[in-house]
């Protein structure tokens, strides 16, 4: 069945909202250096200031401008989203698709490995690892990806198994196509909706986990991360700072995650005929 996914995405309200929000975060991340008035990492003598014209959201305990840190934190969040998304999708594709295409013992071994890995709680493993190395943003991306690709790989494998039995793939074989051609020209393009879904899903999870870990204090102190900001803000819960320190940061994080979730939801609706039908019926009511 031929579906124009982009059109389906922009047609649904959730999809539109998600895209707008994500664009907003993206614009902020890109223009942060121009919008921020202070260096987000630069401490100053004016600590724990309430919002004023000079500091729109006040300053934190070591005198850094919270507004500037909020703006720059977007970059970190999106980097994690993109990094985890790309890396996880890549791992899932390579492992899932190769298992489906090669089959046999290779497939069976990989599937059992996935079964084993899927029970490992990623969060706890990362906390344990962090006890030895304090992860910077790249190690974090790597750790999250390496611990969460299994679900995606299963999805990709299932889809590839069905794709390789398609008549159009058989037809290409009767023209003399080799395996590489089939993978590049037929299987990967037809996998792309699934891959996009895996990407969005893992990006969302990546953002969530990074924020969660940072909130628990597992992050390089020098990174400008929303999770880390909330971690610090909570230490001064007895002051009024949560109003301009904790809430805006939490909101920013929520908006980003919501944007991703909305896009994912709209996309899933477009892909799943059953969901699509329910949606259409809702519209008619």
């Amino acid at each position: 069945m031929h579906i124009n996914y982009w059109r389906e995405l922009t047609r649904s309200n959730f999809g539109k909202l998600g895209l707008v929000l994500l664009c907003l975060v993206l614009v902020i991340a890109i223009f942060a250096p121009f919008l921020a008035r202070y260096d987000p990492g630069e401490p100053s003598l004016s600590i724990l200031m309430p919002p004023s014209f000079a500091h729109l959201l006040g300053t934190n305990d070591i005198g850094q401008d919270i507004w500037s840190r909020l703006l720059c934190g977007a970059k970190n969040t999106l980097l994690v989203a993109l990094g985890v998304g790309v890396f996880t999708t890549l791992l899932s594709t390579v492992i899932g698709a190769s298992a489906a295409l090669v089959g046999g013992l290779y497939d069976r071994i990989l599937m059992r490995v996935i079964d084993a890995l899927i029970v490992i709680p990623a969060f706890i493993v990362i906390i344990l690892v962090a006890a030895y190395v304090l992860p910077n943003v790249w190690t974090l991306i790597f750790l999250i990806s390496i611990l969460t690709w299994q679900g995606g790989a299963r999805l990709v494998r299932a889809q590839t198994l069905s794709l390789k039995e398609r008549m159009s793939v058989y037809a290409a074989r009767t023209f003399g196509a080799n395996k590489l051609y089939l993978v590049i020209r037929h299987i990967i393009p037809d996998l792309s909706p699934i891959l996009f879904a895996v990407f969005i899903h893992s990006a969302t999870r990546g953002v969530f986990m990074e924020a969660g870990l940072a909130f628990l204090g597992i992050a390089d102190i020098s990174t400008v991360s929303w999770g880390l900001m909330m971690h610090h803000a909570l230490r001064f819960y007895y002051l009024d700072v949560w109003k301009w320190w904790l809430i805006p940061t939490g909101l920013a994080l929520s908006v980003t995650i919501m944007a991703l979730v909305f896009i994912g939801h709209a996309f899933e609706t477009a892909m799943d005929p059953r969901l699509r039908k329910m949606e259409q019926e809702d519209w008619q009511c």
């Binding site: 008549m167 003399g176 196509a177 037809d190």
Partner: protein, 608 residues
């Protein structure tokens, strides 16, 4: 009695006959068949010594070389030893004399009898050819075509010749008159031991009147042999083409022509521009008429070649035998229809041949060479049309991209060449080659259009073998008719050998030269389509024929009984004639008349 040795006739610079060698025994009848303009009449006239061109070679009549005989002596031989029934009845008779006068003329002219006796003799002859008595004194324009033909035959018989050359004696006649004339000639032959050289393009007359047959094309004999064998199993592509385009009640396949026009060529095989299996040497050297398995054939490739041979191929899925040691041969330019109910292994056979499945046992040969690995070259000569066109086309590829895909994979030509090939092939399958159509995606096409795109994809590599797996079962009847016609036309043009898989026997009979009936992975009967349809031997084929669509309502009871233990004849549980042996032992495919059939009860059935 008559022998032609290296006979060559040319009109000026144009050579009309090339190296003809023929041998005709006394009492024998030989038909020279071929399209018009092939040199048949020139051959007849040159034996009579009436040809206006230059003759080289020898024409031996009872050992005497007629070419060397001077005109005066030749006149004595003419009509006394060799007579001719001329073509074109309308002009052969003189309009100002009565037919009686004209029949007696050769007798008088040769001073055999006096005028009175000659007339009595002429009357006798005319009675013998069944001309009504009141017509003896009629003028030619008062006679019908059939009567004029009788007069001409009487005239040829006038001086009791040994050899009669008949040039198209039946061509212009209606069916019943034709049969009368044919019977007349047959009776005469039986009574008088006449030797007949029949020149005709009418295969029916040739089959009725001749013992042997030679096929003449552009001044060369391409094939010769005994008439029934030659007609039922033509082995030169031209002979097959002649038979295919001759409308008759025996053939069930639609009429098919021969591509191109006849042309007299100085070099190479005269048929090569129209031949679908010609190779390099065919253009350079004319083939010699050589004996090959009881037949004389002039072809560099030894006649129609077997394109695909499947030998004892089996395919097993886990423990299920999907196909069980099947044997098939598909000749160049031929359609072999594989029919049978669903689940009988037809598609498995197709996919095993094309290489989507690996055969468990057995060998396959393409143009005589064993198929070992299937590389890009293999797929250039073997292609497949899939059952469901919508599924076989990727939904992401536009028509243009889909049709170009085989070329992309095979890396043929540059982009522009590929695109022009795509446009050309789209026109060939009768689809628009406009940009707007080529930009369409499969879901924007109708079923018929999509299947044509599928056919275009299969044909763009110019394959020799096309495997069509139920190519029309997803289409409605009118679209099916168009697609089938298209395939037959392409076969005519390119000589594609087609393995046509269908469950529709009525369709198979219209498009196939041969039929193979499959049941539970076995071929139970195989033979020429017309014979298999008209006289099926296997009970399963009979039941299939009963179930084939007709336009008259009849209630059909097909036996169903499902206790089958897997051994024995695959049809035993449904066969009305099954005996105990049928459940125990599996019958082998045996030759039986022109079919091959696998049935235990065959012999008792024949005795009935």
């Amino acid at each position: 009695m008559l022998e032609l040795r290296e006979l060559e006739v040319s009109y000026g610079k144009r050579k009309v006959l090339h190296g003809i060698n023929l041998n005709l025994k006394r009492g024998e009848s030989l038909a020279i068949v071929g399209g018009s303009g092939g040199g048949k009449t020139t051959l007849g006239l040159s034996i009579m010594g009436l040809v206006e061109g230059t003759i080289r070679g020898e024409i031996l009549l009872d050992g005497k070389n007629l070419v060397a005989v001077p005109e005066k002596a030749l006149r004595k031989i003419r009509w006394n030893q060799i007579a001719m029934v001329f073509q074109n009845v309308e002009n052969a008779l003189n309009p100002v004399y009565t037919v009686l006068d004209q029949v007696s003329e050769p007798i008088v002219a040769h001073n055999l009898r006096d005028r009175y006796d000659a007339k009595r003799r002429a009357e006798e002859l005319m009675k013998m050819v069944n001309l009504p008595e009141g017509r003896f004194l009629a003028y030619p324009h008062q006679l019908s075509g059939g009567e004029k033909q009788r007069v001409l035959i009487a005239m040829a018989l006038a001086n009791d010749p040994d050899l009669i050359i008949m040039d198209e004696p039946t061509t212009a006649l209606d069916a019943l008159t034709k049969v009368e004339i044919i019977n007349l000639i047959r009776n005469m032959c039986n009574e008088r031991e006449l030797t007949i050289l029949l020149l005709t393009h009418d295969l029916y007359a040739a089959s009725m009147l001749s013992d042997r047959m030679a096929v003449l094309y552009a001044g060369r004999i391409l094939e010769s042999g005994f008439t029934p064998a030659l007609l039922s199993n033509p082995r030169h592509p031209y002979t097959r083409g002649l038979i295919r385009c001759y409308p008759n009640m025996t053939t069930t396949k639609d009429l098919q022509g021969i591509k191109g026009m006849m042309d007299f060529l100085d070099t190479g095989c005269p048929f090569h521009p129209r031949c679908t299996q010609s190779i390099g040497i065919c253009r350079e050297k004319a083939p010699k008429l050589e004996e090959n398995d009881g037949r004389f054939i002039a072809c560099h490739r030894g006649g129609i070649i077997p394109l695909l041979e499947v030998r004892e191929v089996s395919k097993t899925f886990d423990s299920v035998k999907a196909i069980d040691s099947i044997d098939l041969t598909l000749y160049e330019g031929e359609t072999l229809a594989l029919v049978g109910e669903s689940g009988s292994g037809k598609t498995t056979t197709a996919k095993t041949v094309i290489g989507l499945f690996e055969a468990t046992e057995g060998q396959m040969y393409l143009e005589g060479e064993r198929i070992l690995g299937r590389d890009k070259n293999f797929y250039q000569s073997v292609q497949m049309i899939f059952q469901n066109p919508m599924e076989a086309l990727s939904h992401r590829l536009s028509v243009q991209e889909a049709v170009r895909e085989p070329l992309d994979i095979q890396k043929q030509g540059n982009r522009e060449q590929r695109e022009s090939m795509v446009r050309h092939i789209l026109e060939e399958v009768e689809l628009p080659s406009t940009q707007s159509f080529m930009n369409k995606y499969p879901h924007q096409l109708s079923q018929g259009e999509a299947q044509r795109v599928g056919i275009a994809r299969a044909l763009i590599l110019n394959p020799k073998l096309l495997i069509a797996d139920e190519p029309t079962s997803a289409l409605d009847a009118s679209t099916q008719a168009k697609v089938v016609k298209l395939l037959l036309n392409l076969q005519e043009k390119r000589g594609i050998g087609m393995l046509f898989i269908t469950h529709n026997l009525a369709l198979a009979r219209k498009i196939s030269d041969r039929l193979a009936v499959m049941l539970k992975g076995n071929i139970v009967e195989e033979g020429p389509s017309n014979e298999l349809i008209s006289s099926p031997l296997h009970p399963y084929t009979k039941d299939l024929l009963k179930a084939a669509p007709t336009l008259s309502a009849n209630v059909l009871v097909v036996p169903t009984n499902n206790k089958n233990d897997g051994q024995g004849c695959p049809y035993a549980n449904r066969c009305s004639k099954a005996t105990e042996v049928c459940f125990k032992e599996k019958p082998k495919l045996r030759s039986c008349s022109s079919h091959r059939v696998a049935c235990m009860n065959l012999k008792p059935e024949k005795e009935e």
